[in-house]
């Protein structure tokens, strides 16, 4: 007899939008045990689980959910951790609606199983448990990891577990990459990221902050002088793109990276107690429609802006941001100007931004991406009065390392070329994450870090036992 399925996901408890729009505490509060158990009941434990096909690292979803049903949360965590080192992070930031949940069988007729929320539940359960560390015997090989974002973290964890000695180099003063400087506290509490980093340290991974590879040592120096046997590059896509519109350098025009870094990493939200200032503005325009744009808009609101607009040239259906974040932004009062394209910044004589000139768009023929191409409507220009504008149209690879490593192959966008195993054009050098793919997702970066760890391990083992 077919089981009666509750048609909808169990709702996630949330902070009240009116309250949370004024604080940086986490928006989604997480499932309670009762909710998690009830939601786990919705999973059919399919013989041919489609959900796993949608997961970039093939987490064994039905098995972990089965453990949740039995209240064996540590077992559930073990299952997830076989392929995903950071469930508490991924449960919060993965675009589940386009991945696992999109393919979930339950989702064919009803709402899919809330896989992400269950993953987060399991991850959070484990965050405060002492992780037991299983480590192989030391191999004597030394690996350098450049960049401490999700790609670097995942790679380091696997290599350390395999017995290699791992040193991670991070340019900024805090490890974590975008998880620390980009994604805001209200979406991903920084304590969770730091907890994972502590776990890595417990495994013996050395982390050197304030260390920019390319400046403090070149890649060749790491390999030839500092005794590293292999290197993984997970330097991310940190260079902000601008639209090259007139007036882009007026005071008040920020890249999303700058705005978010000032707020997240430098804690400008507690200025002047913390020393880094930020211009919030009364009326703020955010250019773009991805996660970065949503984060910038919601941060501006929390810092005290009165009106925050997302200016996006396509329609709501095409917004690339996670659905949940779009809904949260709407609930909090972010205003969306769809089919609107910025054309120029307007400023005062003293150089301060006063407005954003835009043109209305309509959807025309499908373009190369298959989406209908927005075309400007003649004569529809208008000026949106704003005193801060935040450009969130994407990021490219950081050039610091590639500039000083001429024999490392890159493509014309500056991304490092690596094959499906993470191998680059340079012997012993592997790469993965946003620096290879261009700006993508946390889980894809982690997946790439793990794949590279496997090939680095094979490469080192192929050399036989370490000779001193």
């Amino acid at each position: 007899m077919a089981k009666q399925i509750i048609p909808k996901k169990h709702p996630m408890p949330h902070q009240d939008p009116k309250v949370r729009a004024k604080n940086f505490d986490e928006v989604a509060l997480g499932y309670t045990e009762e909710l998690a158990l009830a939601e786990a009941e919705r999973c059919l434990k399919c013989k041919n689980p489609m959900c796993m096909k949608g997961c970039p690292v093939s987490v064994d979803i039905p098995e972990f959910i089965a453990h949740v049903k039995e209240r064996k949360y540590e077992e559930a965590a073990k299952v997830i951790k076989r392929t995903n080192a950071l469930p508490a992070v991924c449960g919060r930031v993965c675009p589940q609606e386009n991945q696992c949940e999109k393919f979930c069988i339950v989702g064919k007729k009803n709402e899919p199983v809330a896989i992400g929320r269950l993953e987060r539940f399991v991850g959070d359960y484990m965050v405060n448990k002492e992780a037991e560390i299983e480590k192989a015997e030391a191999t004597g090989y030394k690996v350098a990891i450049v960049g401490s974002g999700p790609a670097g973290l995942a790679c380091a964890a696997d290599l350390a577990r395999l017995g290699h000695s791992v040193t991670m180099f991070e340019a900024l003063h805090t490890p974590g990459g975008v998880l620390m400087y980009g994604i805001p506290e209200f979406r991903l509490p920084k304590a969770i990221v730091q907890k994972e980093i502590q776990n890595l340290k417990k495994m013996g991974v050395e982390i050197e902050t304030n260390a920019i590879v390319g400046q403090i040592a070149s890649l060749d120096e790491l390999l030839q002088e500092e005794g590293f046997d292999a290197v993984f590059l997970g330097t991310g896509a940190g260079t902000p793109y601008f639209m090259n519109l007139p007036g882009e350098n007026y005071n008040g025009v920020y890249s999303a990276n700058e705005f978010l870094t000032r707020s997240n990493l430098m804690k400008a939200y507690c200025f002047p107690q913390c020393d880094t200032p930020i211009k919030v503005g009364k009326k703020v325009a955010v250019l773009g429609g991805g996660n970065v744009a949503m984060d910038a808009a919601r941060t501006a609101l929390r810092l005290g802006a009165e009106d925050v607009y997302i200016v996006y040239r396509r329609s709501r259906a095409e917004l690339p941001a996670r659905l949940e974040e779009v809904e949260h932004a709407e609930e909090e009062g972010v205003q969306f100007l769809f089919l609107t394209n910025p054309t120029k910044y307007v400023g005062s004589e003293e150089g301060w931004l006063t407005g954003l000139q835009c043109i209305k768009m309509e959807l025309g023929e499908p373009d190369a991406s298959g989406r209908r191409k927005p075309v400007p409507i003649d004569g529809s220009e208008f000026v949106l009065p704003v005193d801060v504008a935040i450009v969130a149209i994407g990021q490219g690879p950081n050039p610091l390392l590639t500039k000083t490593t001429p024999d490392l192959e890159t493509n014309k966008r500056g991304n490092i070329t690596a094959d499906e195993t993470g191998k680059t054009s340079k012997e012993g050098v592997y790469a993965g994450g946003d620096v290879v793919t261009g700006a993508a997702t946390v889980i894809k970066a982690m997946g790439a870090g793990r794949v590279a760890a496997t090939s680095i391990h094979e490469y080192l083992m192929g050399k036989g036992p370490k000779k001193n």
């Binding site: 340019a171 920084k190 403090i216 040592a217 940190g238 350098n249 700058e258 804690k267 610091l400």
Partner: protein, 283 residues
């Protein structure tokens, strides 16, 4: 943590620190800079590498107390430590045997000019130094500059030391007398660099300036340091800090340097961090 090995007051509100940072010292080159963050709540402050010693592993910085953060840095003493010290950042100066090069330093600009002048001389250029300050009290490192340059001129705005006049006055006299040098390099406050660049343009002399834009990360990640060079946007931290002075949009840089004027005043009114971590400063 990075320890302050020695502290010297060079002039009112201008300090020289030697900081223990062996990895930075090992790689530092003339023309590069570092970013220092005093403590957990601190701002990331860019400062030029004024000198370095690979043997002792120290890096020398010289800074003027400009606002809240540099004042806070100035309150430290030898034996204290700063939390973060990252570098070397930026592209090193192009140093070569170039014939005559004139190195113009305004105010604290002496500090960044000094190592470049020294390297230029070692490379075989004829190095002419011109250093200027508002008054006698603000002159420092004259001895170092004498050593680093083949000829050195000093000037003060008010005439309280050596001669009265601006660096541009001395520069013009020198050029009128000796003809065009191979290159002029000017480092100091933006209006001074603009004045030098405007002047050398008349003579068609290649001129480099070192821009001190507002920065956050210093690694090309935030875009705070952007500047228009010949109509193109560049990032001072990774493309610079040195640029062709004739191509720099100085008006825009001046305007951008005033971005946090009002916030700065707010910060100056508070004496210390009162949030005790409750503001998540320590989170």
């Amino acid at each position: 943590m990075y320890q302050i090995i020695s502290k010297k007051a060079l002039a009112p509100a201008i300090y020289e620190y030697e900081i223990l940072a062996p990895k930075v010292a090992k790689k530092a080159k003339a023309g590069q800079f570092i970013i220092v963050k005093v403590d957990e709540q601190g701002e990331r402050i860019p400062l030029t590498i004024a000198d370095f010693n690979r043997e002792t592993g120290t890096v020398t910085i010289v800074f003027a107390e400009a606002g809240y953060s540099t004042k806070k840095l100035g309150q430290l003493n030898a034996g204290d430590a700063v939390q973060d010290f990252v570098g070397p950042l930026g592209v090193p100066s192009h140093v070569d045997k170039l014939g005559t090069v004139i190195m113009v330093a305004g105010g604290v600009g002496v500090a960044p000019v000094y190592p470049i002048a020294r390297e230029m001389k070692i490379a075989g250029s004829h190095v002419v130094g011109i250093m200027g300050a508002r008054n006698k009290d603000l002159i420092f490192w004259e001895d170092r500059m004498k050593e680093a340059c083949d000829e050195l001129f000093v000037t003060t705005d008010d005439g309280s030391y050596v001669r009265q006049g601006f660096v541009t006055d001395v520069l013009r006299e020198y050029i009128e007398k000796e003809g065009n040098p191979a290159m002029v390099m000017a480092i100091g406050p933006l209006p001074m660099m603009r004045a030098v660049a405007n002047m050398t343009k008349e003579y068609g002399i290649k001129t480099m300036v070192s821009l001190n834009s507002i920065m956050v990360d210093g690694t090309g990640m935030c875009g705070a340091c952007r500047v228009t060079i010949g109509g193109e946007t560049k990032f001072v931290c990774v493309d610079g800090p040195e640029f062709d002075g004739h191509l720099v949009d100085f008006e825009e840089q001046l305007m951008r340097s005033r971005q946090y004027k009002s916030e700065e005043q707010q910060a100056m009114q508070q004496s210390s961090c009162g949030c005790g971590g409750g503001g998540k400063c320590h989170g």
